[in-house]
């Protein structure tokens, strides 16, 4: 770990991002308070100034971090569970089942990444939904995005689990456990899966970067997280109208999004170098 400074820098940035996402959104009066002037310059009250409606930019960038992390982590957990189940079936299931499952996975994998998410959101999201503040956020933006991105994210975990599990299948400790009469389910849960958590964690860091990017893309296109809730993608879309007079407002969301993607890639690559059983 000491040999890889990028990994440490990445982890430090992610810790900062998590704290920022937890405590940042209440800064400068919160994300929707508009009683200040539009485009105020950075001051002690608003560390990054205010946007075109007079809302605190720091609070909105921080809320964007909260949205990105919430969407990203939820999607990765769902995709991980589905992917591991399908991948394990593909490696250990009866032939007819494993072939069906892996063919289905290949088919889903071949679908261009965000295209499927756009289709799902296009047909299922309900932009005119009322509900309470939090309920409205979950139903009208968060839920469609999470569902759509989970459906596009699981095939890569299924493939990884499948190939890793298949390579572990004939190793001595698995054969020995089977010879001692352990049922397949027990062998999978106690002997095969524990070998894979490291590589799955490393890959999910890189995949998390992809999911955060996908959420930002959808929000940039106006079909992800919907206003008034801020997301880095929608902030970039809003700020571009005023980029001539106020380039700084475009800079903040672009900067933090790019840094987050970098950090996750550093951490993912660093962890993979340490944890991948095949590289040892």
């Amino acid at each position: 770990m000491r040999k890889n400074p990028l990994l440490l820098v990445g982890i430090a940035f992610l810790v900062f991002l998590a704290l920022f996402a937890i405590f940042g959104p209440s800064a400068g009066g919160g994300i929707t308070e508009t009683k200040w002037g539009a485009f105020e310059f950075p001051s002690s009250r608003h560390l990054l100034g205010t946007d075109q409606l007079g809302r605190d930019v720091l609070a909105r960038v921080a809320y964007g971090a909260r949205v990105s992390l919430a969407v990203g982590i939820t999607v990765q957990l769902l995709a991980l569970v589905v992917g591991v189940i399908f991948g394990t079936i593909g490696a250990f299931g009866p032939k007819w089942l494993s072939v069906t499952v892996m063919r289905f996975t290949d088919g889903m994998f071949a679908f261009p990444d965000i295209l499927l998410a756009i289709l799902i959101i296009g047909l299922f999201s309900n932009s005119s939904h009322g509900g309470g503040a939090l309920g409205g956020f979950i139903i009208s933006g968060f839920l469609p995005v999470v569902v759509a991105l989970s459906i596009t994210a699981w095939p890569s975990f299924a493939r990884l689990t499948n190939t890793t599990a298949a390579s572990l299948k004939d190793r001595e400790f698995v054969v020995a456990a089977k010879a001692l009469g352990a049922p397949s389910a027990y062998v999978i849960v106690r002997h095969v899966l524990p070998q894979m958590w490291g590589i799955l964690l490393a890959v999910s860091m890189v995949e998390l970067a992809g999911t955060i990017l996908a959420e930002a893309t959808l929000s940039f296109l106006g079909i992800g997280i919907l206003p008034p809730y801020p997301s880095w993608g929608s902030m970039i879309n809003l700020a571009r109208d005023d980029m001539v007079s106020h380039p700084l407002w475009l800079l903040w969301p672009c900067l933090i999004l790019s840094l987050t993607i970098f950090a996750l890639n550093f951490v993912g690559d660093g962890l993979r170098a340490i944890l991948d059983p095949r590289r040892k």
Binding site: G107, A110, F111, P112, D113, I114, L115, L116, I118, L119, I120, I121, G122, L123, F124, S125, N126, S127, A209, L213, A216, T217, F220, L221, G222, I223, G233, I236, N237, R240, M243, V244, P247, L250, C254, L257, S258, I261, F262, N265
Partner: protein, 316 residues
């Protein structure tokens, strides 16, 4: 004979993929809440009117029959009608918008392949030297910086500060069309260029370490001929496969770029349709984009055995 058989088999795979993408688009729509009849009848329609319209449109038929008639329509280019405005046929809307999307996507693909293969080869030749490190760093940036971050930066420099290129598409155009398309193409090409550069570099380094290269060096083949004829011809095969897959990134990127530059393309039209809940146009847009992706990959699959005798001779 073998070549013909392989190409035939790949055409078959392509056809199956097209049916699969049709099925996914169709199935997603029939799972969604509210069908075409409810949308077309309008808010004032009585439930009886909706049922009558549903029967008239054939929406009360069993699922497989509906899918068959959807496929039959799609083959003839009939993808239904838009719910809004003049209720134009979706086929016509796509015909109007596809040329822009296809032009931008293919130009970006050619640009990315050309620059990516060239830079990757150079990086491999100068492995671990200064030029290689520069190419690798730029490549990493190109993969990680999202295109909607790159787009405002380039627009700020070239359209606003230098005032050389138009900021967004205008109707009617006030300048040569290529000037409007230049920035979109470059931005769209960034990510695939970076991917192809890294892949070409890796593949080229592996090829250069093989024995036939040592033999060629030993018998005195001139360097340019060695790199570009002996090595690149072998190293380029996985790169060509990757061109097909990275065309997928390119197509999803075209949604962003078309919206950013307000280009009249399939992606921009699809996003508009999503915001208006215009289901037939959404389906049409996804179907056309997916079909484009499959066709490009089919072309790559057919090109590979032609370029590589080893694949040609392999048993299918």
């Amino acid at each position: 004979m073998r070549l013909a058989r392989q190409i035939l088999l790949r055409l078959l795979y392509g056809a199956v993929s097209l049916v699969f993408i049709c099925f996914v688009t169709f199935a997603a729509q029939s799972l969604a809440s509210g069908d075409a009849a409810t949308a077309l009848a309008g808010e004032k329609a009585t439930p009886e009117q909706v049922v009558a319209l549903r029967h008239q449109m054939g929406l009360d038929r069993p699922f497989p029959i509906q899918f068959a008639s959807f496929m039959a329509g799609a083959v003839r280019g009939d993808l239904g009608k838009s719910y809004f405005g003049q209720q134009r046929p979706v086929g016509d809307i796509m015909r109007d918008n596809l040329p822009t999307t296809a032009t931008v996507a293919f130009c970006a693909m050619i640009l990315a392949a050309g620059i990516g293969i060239l830079l990757g080869t150079l990086a491999a030749i100068y492995q671990n030297r200064f030029a290689d490190r520069v190419v690798l760093t730029v490549g990493t940036l190109g993969v990680t910086v999202p295109n909607f971050v790159l787009a405002p930066i380039l627009v700020y420099i070239f359209a606003l500060k230098l005032d050389q290129l138009p900021q967004t598409w205008e109707d009617p155009l006030r300048d040569a069309a290529w000037k409007y398309l230049l920035l979109p193409v470059v931005i769209l090409a960034a990510r695939p260029t970076a991917l192809l550069t890294r892949l070409t570099r890796a593949s080229m380094i592996e090829t250069l370490s093989q024995e036939f290269i040592r033999t060629a060096v030993a018998k005195g083949v001139p360097p340019l001929r060695l790199y570009f004829k002996h090595a690149l011809r072998n190293a380029i095969l996985p790169v060509i496969t990757a061109i097909g897959t990275s065309f997928g990134f390119l197509l999803t990127g075209s949604f962003v770029v078309e919206r950013f530059f307000r280009l009249p393309g399939v992606g921009a039209r699809t996003i508009e349709a999503i915001q208006r809940r215009d289901t037939p146009v959404i389906q049409g847009g996804i179907l056309i984009t997916g079909a484009l992706f499959i066709l490009v990959n089919l072309a790559v699959d057919i090109l590979l055995p032609i370029l590589d005798p080893r694949i040609r001779e392999a048993q299918v």
